[in-house]
Symmetry: C2
Subunit: 421 residues, 2 copies
Amino acid sequence: MSGYVRHLAERAREAASVIARLDGDARRRLIERMADALSERRAEVMAANAEDMERGRSNGLGDAVLDRLKLDDARIDSMAQGLREVAAQTDPLGVVTRRDVRPNGVVIERQRIPLGLIAMIYEARPNVTADAAALCLKAGNAVLLRGGSEARASNAAIAACLHSALRAGNLPEAAVSLVSDPAREHVLELLQLSDLIDLAIPRGGESLIRFVAEHARVPVIKHYKGVCHLYVDASADVAQALDLLVDGKASRPGVCNALETLLVHRDIAATFLPRAMERLSARGVEVRGCERTRAIVPQARAATDDDYAAEYLDFVIAVRVVDDLDAALAHIARYGSDHTEVIATQDAAAADAFVRGTRSSAVMVNASSRFNDGGQLGLGAEIGISTTRLHAYGPMGAESLTIERFVVRGEGQVRHADSRG
Amino acid sequence: MSGYVRHLAERAREAASVIARLDGDARRRLIERMADALSERRAEVMAANAEDMERGRSNGLGDAVLDRLKLDDARIDSMAQGLREVAAQTDPLGVVTRRDVRPNGVVIERQRIPLGLIAMIYEARPNVTADAAALCLKAGNAVLLRGGSEARASNAAIAACLHSALRAGNLPEAAVSLVSDPAREHVLELLQLSDLIDLAIPRGGESLIRFVAEHARVPVIKHYKGVCHLYVDASADVAQALDLLVDGKASRPGVCNALETLLVHRDIAATFLPRAMERLSARGVEVRGCERTRAIVPQARAATDDDYAAEYLDFVIAVRVVDDLDAALAHIARYGSDHTEVIATQDAAAADAFVRGTRSSAVMVNASSRFNDGGQLGLGAEIGISTTRLHAYGPMGAESLTIERFVVRGEGQVRHADSRG
C-alpha cells in the first residue's frame, strides 16, 4: 500500500466534520453553487470529455460504453439540473424523527446525523461524480470518489467545478476528494480503511461489485443484478398487464429495473400470451418460453434454466406459465435478485399475498417495474439501488446517507437512586 | 470448511421464510410459549448450568466470568420475564412507515420486512441465547446462535426449551439454530456464508468483535468499547452534575455505558472538583487527573494519554480540566468511541452546541450515560448496542432487525407513454 489513498481519506475525513457542522441552508447554497459552476465552466468539461472519448475510441471501447461516457450540452444541463433538485430537497438532517417521554421524565429523541465519509467506486458515467457528491454533501457527509479510468479527464474537470464551489464558500476542497491515480491497487487500499471510511458504495458492472464485496473491510452497500419479474395473475386486467409488460421490458432494456421474466397464471395464459407475443414482437423483443408457453405461442424459442436466472439487459424475455400465485412466488424465490417484482391483478387478496410473499426491495401492484428509481419514488435522486438487506433497501437518496441516533434530555435523572447526593 | 455450519444455515434460512409469513399475533404467542417453557423446565436448565459452572471452575475461569455464566431461579425468572416483555411489544412488521402519492397517481408506501437470517456470536452469558432468539423471532427472522464453549450445556438446555415452543406451534426448530460444536473453525465458516446470512452481530469482548470484523464476508454490526464522557459545563447545576458523575461511574462500572472520563470547564473546576473527589472517593473510585485537575485536588494520581483512551470497566476515572466546550468536543473527537457522551449544563445554547458537535450513538443532556440501554430508551430489550454508523446506531431492539422496502400501488401506470397499447 502506498499510503496515497489513506492520506486522501484522512483529509476527506477532516473535511467531513466541517460539512457536518453546516446548517441546511449552507448545504443547499453549496450544491446550487456547484450546479452554477458546472453550467458556467461547461467548455472545460466538454474539452476534457472529448479527450476521454478520443482515448476511448482508440482503445476500442464499445458503443454502449462510449455513449455512457459522452457529455454534451444537454447532458451537462441535466447534470446541473439534477444538482439543483438535490439542493432543493428537504434537509434530511437534524430532524427529530421520533420523540418519547419516559416514566422518569427523561425525553428520548431520535435524530438524523451524517454517516461521515462515504467512498463511491464507479464506472464510465461521469455524471455520477456530480450526483454522488451532491447527495453526500446534502446529507452532511464528505465523499471520496473513485471513477473509472476511461472517464478520468471528465471526472477531474467536473471535480474542479465542484471544488471551485467549495472554495467560494470557504469550505475544504477535500470534502469532495477524487482518487485520480488510476492504479487498481488504490481501490484495494481504500477498501481497507475501516478507521476512516464509514460506507463504500460500488456502482457499475457485476465484476466491479464482486471485487468490492470480496475485498472490503469497510461496510459496503451493493446491488448485484436486477432479475425483475412480472406475474400476470388469473384476475389481471389484460390491457393493463400488456402495458406493464411492454414498459418493463422494452422502454429501456439496459437498466436494472427492466423486466427479465414474465410469469403467467395458467388460467389466463391462452388469452394473454398471444397478445403479449404480438406486442413484444412489435418492439423487437425475443421471447423464450417454457413448454406450456410454446404450446400457446409456438414461435417462442425454448427457455432453459439459465434463461430464468439471466439479467439480459437486452430485448429478450423469459416466459413461464405457472399453476398459481404460490408457484410464481416459488419461482421468484429461486431465481430472483431481491430487486423488483410486479403483479398485475384485480384481486386484492392476490395482491396482498404477492406483497407478503416477496422479499424484494420494491414490489409493484399494477405499476411498472421501471418505477423502482429514486426520482420516480419521490427521493429526488439516487446514489444507487441497494439489494443489500441492511441500512437501505431499494433506491438510496440523501436520507439513506444518514443514520438515526439518540438524544436524551433530562433534568439530572440518574438510573440508580443511591447515586444521589 | 466442514460444511457443518452451511448445512445448519441452509435449514435456518428455510425456517426464516416460514417465520416471515407468521402474523404478529402468532409471533407474540410463540415468544410467550418460549417464556413458559423456560419457566417450566428450569430444573433441566439449572442442571446443565451446574455442569458448565463445574467445568468452568476446574478450568480456572475467573469469578467475573463465572458470575456472568451462573443461572439461578431469579435469573431464569428474569430471562422469562424479558421474553414476555419482547412478546408484548408492538409488532415491528407490516407497518406502513410512510406514504406518498405521486403526480401520476401511483401510491408509494414504505413497509418494514424482516432482515432474514441473523447470526449471533457471543460469549459467556447464557441469557443472550433466549434474548437474541426472542428479538429475532419478534421481527420475523430466524437466528443462528454461536455461544461461548464455557456455556455450551446451558445454551443447549435453553435452546431445547425454545425448540419445544416452536414444535408446539408446528414451526421448524431450525428457526432457532444452535452451532453446538465448539470448534473455532465453525465461526470462520459462518462468517463466509454471505449467500445465507443477512447480518452477523458479535457480542462480547473486544478480541471476539475484532475477530468477527476481520474475517466476515457477511454484513456485521458491532460495538467496540464504550469510552463515555461527562462534560461539566461552566453553567452546570453542580448537585445535578455530581449525581450524573456518581451514577455514570459507580453504579455499575463493568458495563459499556459507564463513564470513563470526566471533562470539567475551567471556570467551574475549583467549585466542582473537590466535591467530585469527595463523592467518588466515598464510592471507592480512583481519580487520575491532568495537571490542572491535580492543582485543585492534589490527592488525584497523574493521568497519562493512555488513561484518556482507556475503557477501565472498573472503579477508576480519568479527569481533565478544559478551557471551553470546543476543547471538550475536541477531546471527545480524539479519544471517544462513538458510544455515549453527557453534558451537564443549564445553558441551552451550550447543550445544542454539544449535541451538534458529537457524533456518538447517544448524547445526553443532564441525564446519566447509564440510560444508553434498550430497556431505558423504551425499546423493551436490546440485542446489542451498535457503534457501527450504519443501519442501527445505539441500542438495537426488534425494529433494528427489520428493513424498510418499497410497495408501489397503481392502476396500470407505466413510465413511458409509448408503452401503451
